[in-house]
């Protein structure tokens, strides 16, 4: 079908004012905020693959009608909400249609008996949290992108928040969900605390990244606000000792909501006046019902002291709490300085994670010619292992291609090293288009499962083609 016909159909469907076709807007929607694109834009990058239009969806009925039409015409679409993705998951294929659900943003029900909240897909997490706080509740979900991300996108990327050790990732919080399948069928998975009725279908939506349908509504857990908090920070001689401390705390069964270990470079950068040369920093925040935080705090103290840590009091935690999301106001900060910079989060078992950290740093320092810095922290821990969130930056000639080369080199080192030690190439940002090329290695013999799910759900390949699974 001709572009003009497509646009007219959508104008009739949702109203003329909710279909955007201006080139400047299409450019804005052409990608997400992946570090690579931030710097490339600074060097003059413009997408050659613009969508034909942006369609603002306001109801599930509109979502159904839009998807049905797109499927019938075999037009690729990219669902989106907050636009805070960082893996090129929102990059528009040429001639595609963007389904923007960010104005589908009603909080539908706060259920204080069952402790759940049901929202439409475009509800901004920060707004939801504010509304809940006023009633004495919290989502317990605090990704750094709290000021940007929305509920549909959070589920679609399997996101995780900074207080994850206590509250879990979005997969632990999601109770029920509704969405439109690629053929236009509306499906709902009802709210149940736990069940044994075959595979958990919520996991089809969790991490689907717009490739299996459009999420319209989600129900997530809520929690009474914690009554008590205990905050403590420690300096330790090495990053590896820090990992050993966290492992011991996790395996003993404690769940400090915030459990963070920053390496010496990050420690010096953010907590300089507290640190001595070469030290890493551990941050713990315990919270819960009265009495819990103090009890957990004491147990943590006993473990860290055994490992020779130096107590720094609660100030570093206060600073972290106050500044933890500041970056959202300066997203292009490094790009403006001409640096190719981004973050990359991987995970692995305790037996391997330290090796990945060490080898990535060694390789990057040796191989990347104009490296500015490569640092790492662990911010989400489990009994079996943890994540490492690498932050990296390098200078390059101020050209789009040079930025791509430098970015590929930096990212490649992390991906290769992670896979070498059986880690996962992505802990919580999602795969998007950028990491799709490593998905076969990531999933190994399980890869055909994902391929078959995709083909069964979306035989026409209309849903966010190129994200999650590589295009053959």
């Amino acid at each position: 079908m001709e572009n003009q016909k497509v646009i007219e159909t959508f104008e009739q469907m949702v109203g003329k004012e909710f279909v955007q076709t201006e080139e400047a807007i299409l450019q804005e929607y052409a990608t997400d905020i992946t570090g690579l694109r931030m710097v490339q834009k600074h060097f003059g990058w413009k997408s050659e693959n613009l969508a034909q239009c942006i369609v603002k969806i306001h109801t599930k009925e509109e979502a159904i009608e839009a998807i049905r039409f797109l499927n019938q015409e075999k037009i690729v679409n990219v669902p989106r909400t907050g636009g805070s993705g960082v893996c090129l998951g929102l990059e528009t294929p040429k001639g595609s249609v963007v389904l923007d659900l960010s104005e589908m943003n009603e909080i539908l029900e706060i259920n204080e008996e069952n402790l759940t909240v049901t929202t439409q897909a475009g509800v901004a997490l920060e707004r939801l949290e504010t509304v809940l706080n006023k009633k004495g509740y919290t989502t317990g979900h605090f990704p750094q992108s709290l000021p940007l991300a929305q509920m549909g996108g959070l589920v679609a990327t399997r996101s995780i928040g900074q207080f994850s050790t206590r509250y879990g990732g979005i997969e632990d919080l999601l109770v029920g969900i509704e969405g439109v399948l690629p053929d236009g069928e509306l499906v709902r998975i009802k709210n149940i605390p736990r069940k044994s009725t075959g595979p958990d279908l919520r996991h089809i939506w969790l991490g689907s990244e717009g490739t299996l349908g459009v999420i319209t509504e989600v129900t997530v857990k809520i929690f009474p606000m914690a009554e008590d908090r205990c905050m403590q920070a420690y300096a330790i001689a090495s990053f590896h000792t820090g990992l050993a401390i966290i492992k011991e705390i996790m395996q003993a069964g404690w769940k400090p909501a915030v459990t963070r270990l920053h390496d010496e470079t990050e420690a010096a950068e953010s907590y300089g006046p507290f640190m001595q040369a070469g030290e890493s920093i551990l941050l713990f925040l315990s919270e819960g019902p009265k009495g819990y935080a103090a009890l957990e705090g004491e147990a943590i103290q006993a473990v860290v002291e055994k490992h020779g840590a130096r107590a720094l009091g609660s100030k570093p935690l206060e600073l972290w709490l106050a500044h933890r999301n500041d970056i959202c106001e300066h997203l292009d900060m490094y790009a403006k300085q001409g640096a190719v910079a981004d973050t990359c989060e991987i995970s692995a078992m305790w037996s391997d994670i330290g090796k990945i950290y060490t080898e990535v740093l060694e390789r990057a320092k040796k191989e990347v010619p104009h490296l500015v810095a490569i640092t790492g922290h662990s911010s989400h821990s489990y009994e079996q292992g943890t994540n490492i969130y690498f932050m990296m930056g390098a200078m390059c000639a101020p050209q789009v291609e040079a930025a791509q080369k430098t970015y590929d080199q930096l990212f490649g080192i992390i991906m290769e090293t992670t896979l070498k030690y059986n880690g996962s190439i992505c802990h919580h940002h999602g795969v998007g288009r950028y990491r799709a090329k490593w998905m076969k290695q990531e999933l190994g013999s399980a890869y055909p499962m994902l391929e078959k799910i995709k083909t069964a759900f979306d035989p026409n390949g209309i849903m966010n083609r190129g994200a999650l699974l590589p295009v053959e």
């Binding site: 950068e269 953010s270 907590y271 300089g272 006046p273 507290f274 100030k315 206060e318 600073l319 106050a322 500044h323 490094y334 403006k336 300085q337 001409g338 640096a339 320092k365 104009h370 490296l371 500015v372 810095a373 490569i374 930056g393 390098a394 200078m395």
Partner: protein
């Protein structure tokens, strides 16, 4: 260049004036003054354009300030000089400008001095201007762009209602301000490591022949610092029908209570 504390880091709950007229800033990182960063970036751009251009970073401060100078060296500034002196709160820009002036005279062959328009903390916004006066050089303030042209420079700077372009031949002092596309570049790790080994020239005040400070504190001393109480009294005017009447009534009430008439 001046080293300042990163005040953005300081928690709002910690902005409490203590008995000794200080605020606890002990946990704030030391960083290069934002406006001096702009001067530094400008100087590096001039150096990129013209390999014959020699660059020097000069500061007045204690050994603490060497991390800032090392950052400049890592960014490929050719030489770093520290005039060893602990600048105290009671010292006015006069004193610092005099030391910088003496330093610049000792360096000798200087065509262009780039400094920030002000510091981002403990600032008077005067150092660059006084320095120019002491050197008897022209001063162009609020500069956003500098380009080498023949033997001089084309300078763009902010004026009341826009930007002005002027052409100058050196020597000249420029005070830098923000512009949309000027941010200090980042040093590579290799250059940062190399810079750790580079020498920083250190001069004491007695090394500076021209150094004559008339009065150590220029008659200024700190008597108190205080925060301005902000009041956010708020009255809800929710009935649209009487909106304007209620607004006038509320404003009159507010002004009366502050002793001001409408």
């Amino acid at each position: 260049m001046k080293q300042v504390l990163d005040l953005d880091q300081v928690l709002s709950s910690d902005w409490i004036v203590q008995e000794n007229q200080t605020i606890d800033l002990s946990y704030a990182n030391r960083v290069i003054n934002t406006y001096d960063e702009l001067g530094l970036e400008m100087m590096l751009r001039l150096q990129d354009e013209d390999p014959k251009c020699n660059s020097i970073s000069l500061t007045v401060g204690t050994e603490d300030t060497e991390s800032m100078l090392r950052k400049a060296l890592a960014l490929q500034v050719e030489e770093a000089i520290r005039i060893d002196h602990a600048v105290s709160m009671s010292q006015t820009p006069q004193a610092v400008a005099r030391m910088l002036c003496a330093g610049i005279r000792k360096i000798g062959d200087v065509d262009l001095v780039l400094c920030g328009r002000q510091a981002s903390g403990s600032d008077y916004g005067q150092t660059g201007l006084i320095l120019a006066e002491l050197l008897s050089w022209p001063c162009i303030s609020l500069v956003t762009e500098v380009v080498r042209r023949n033997e001089g420079w084309v300078i763009i700077h902010q004026v009341d209602d826009g930007l002005e372009e002027v052409v100058v031949s050196g020597p000249v002092v420029l005070t830098m301000t923000q512009s949309a596309d000027h941010f200090l570049r980042m040093a590579t790790l290799r250059n940062t490591m190399d810079a750790k080994k580079k020498a920083i020239t250190q001069w004491s005040l007695s090394d500076l022949e021209e150094w004559k400070l008339v009065k150590e504190t220029a008659g200024v001393s700190l008597s108190r610092i205080f925060t301005v109480e902000e009041s956010n009294d708020c009255a809800m005017v929710d009935d649209p029908e009487f909106f304007v009447d209620r607004m006038i009534e509320e404003i009159q009430k507010m002004n009366q209570s502050e002793g001001v008439s409408l």
